[in-house]
């Protein structure tokens, strides 16, 4: 039972990762791509972490996995915001010659 649940959660997580990668490759500009990466990948990571947590043997490990996801979600959403804001205010396009 737990195995099926874990497999289901992990597979669902992979689908979100796939969506994130497709978005990263196909979306037209840096801002939409940031959006694809941050939202889809973090949802995917959450589902995947939940799947692994179901399999984990000790509650300490479950807590640690939860903490990892929480920090990852927070860090990457703030990082996404910082990079996007930076992109708005600074010329992010590369000069022809560095």
């Amino acid at each position: 039972m737990t195995h099926w649940m874990a497999a289901l959660l992990i597979t669902a997580g992979l689908v979100f990762f796939l969506a994130g990668t497709v978005g990263l490759l196909r979306f037209p500009d840096a801002f939409t791509r940031l959006h694809a990466l941050t939202k889809a990948d973090n949802t995917g990571l959450g589902l995947l972490a939940a799947g692994v947590a179901v399999l984990a043997l000790t509650w300490q490990l479950v807590l640690l996995i939860a903490l990892t996801w929480l920090l990852a979600a927070m860090a990457s959403s703030i990082a996404c915001h910082l990079v996007a804001r930076h992109g708005l205010h600074h010329d992010n396009h590369e000069e022809t010659r560095e």
């Binding site: 920090l71 860090a75 703030i78 915001h81 910082l82 708005l88 205010h89 560095e98």
Partner: protein
């Protein structure tokens, strides 16, 4: 697992190639950071989670941050860096032939070498019971080969002294001054992350006795907390150095040496530890090393010999 390893190895080789051949400096740096993270991932596959922690923290993380900050300085200085002319096609060809030969020879040797199972590591694993810590790498670093570690700390300090003498600090403006484009979320990130990062660093130092971690990995994470504060404008480099800071910088070396010397009459050798006391001694040494390592790495980032609370 073979397919996973092959793909990972391919990604590593491709990233390395792109890192040295891509024209844009920024791209080379970003590729280098990603390469470091992938190397760390591959080392978890090779039974070396300790080294994965070290590479992710020091090799990709702290060095990556330092590279990105130095890139800004290089870019702001303009295109002319006093570079020589690009190498002639002959040099390129010779370099290509030479490196292909080197790589091929290396690959052949690695595939034919017979690894001798009679080795120092076997002895280290067997005598782990005497080391006072269960983690083999920590035992080797702090007990069986403590001379190496002591001298390594010396090298780290020398690098810092050299960097400080060059007087080329990286000065991060306080967030408010950054032309009004700073996000209000940056202070939030710094406020929430820093205590957690400090906790994590301390945990890694403590965990070093029985699971992957240790003074270097923990010290790197502690330095990461400091770098976070510097980037958030809460901490900055300073030319004035306090006595406390100096004491902390040499704390690791001093504790290591003093304990080694004090126990010499008892044990008859430098850096030999009496049986019952090994664990507490290891933990004391480990924590003082981590503090000094973390501080040294942080100062290597700011490029100064001192720190101050709120940089003006």
């Amino acid at each position: 697992m073979m397919v996973f390893d092959s793909l990972l190895a391919l990604i590593i080789a491709a990233l390395a190639w792109r890192c040295v051949t891509v024209r844009d400096l920024f791209q080379a740096i970003v590729t280098f950071i990603v390469l470091g993270l992938m190397l760390a991932l591959s080392w978890t596959r090779l039974d070396a989670p300790d080294l994965a922690l070290a590479e992710a923290g020091i090799g990709a993380g702290l060095l990556g941050v330092l590279l990105l900050s130095t890139w800004r300085v290089v870019r702001d200085a303009g295109p002319d860096q006093g570079e020589g002319p690009p190498p002639s096609p002959w040099v390129r060809t010779a370099a290509a032939v030479g490196s292909i030969a080197l790589g091929t020879a290396f690959a052949v040797v690695l595939h034919t070498v017979e690894v001798d199972s009679d080795r120092a590591g076997g002895l280290a694993l067997e005598s782990l019971g005497e080391a006072g810590v269960e983690q083999p790498v920590t035992a080797v670093l702090l007990n069986f080969r403590s001379y190496d570690t002591l001298l390594e700390l010396g090298v780290l300090l020398m690098a810092l002294i050299g960097a400080v003498l060059l007087r080329s600090p990286l000065i991060h403006r306080p967030a408010a001054e950054d032309t009004g484009t700073e996000s209000p979320l940056l202070p939030v990130l710094v406020t929430v992350f820093t205590p957690l990062v400090l906790l994590m660093g301390t945990f890694l130092v403590w965990a070093g006795a029985h699971s992957p971690g240790g003074a270097f990995q923990g010290g790197a994470v502690l330095a990461g907390a400091g770098v976070m504060l510097v980037l958030g404008g809460r901490l900055g480099g300073d030319a004035q150095v306090s006595l406390l800071l100096r004491a902390l910088l040499i704390l690791g070396v001093s504790v290591f040496t003093v304990i080694g010397l004090l126990l010499m009459p008892l044990e008859g050798a430098f850096m030999a530890y009496p049986e019952g006391l090994v664990y507490p001694l290891m933990v004391t040494i480990e924590f003082s090393l981590a503090l000094s390592i973390g501080l040294t790495l942080l100062l290597l980032f700011t490029g100064t010999n001192g720190l101050r609370g709120a940089p003006a």
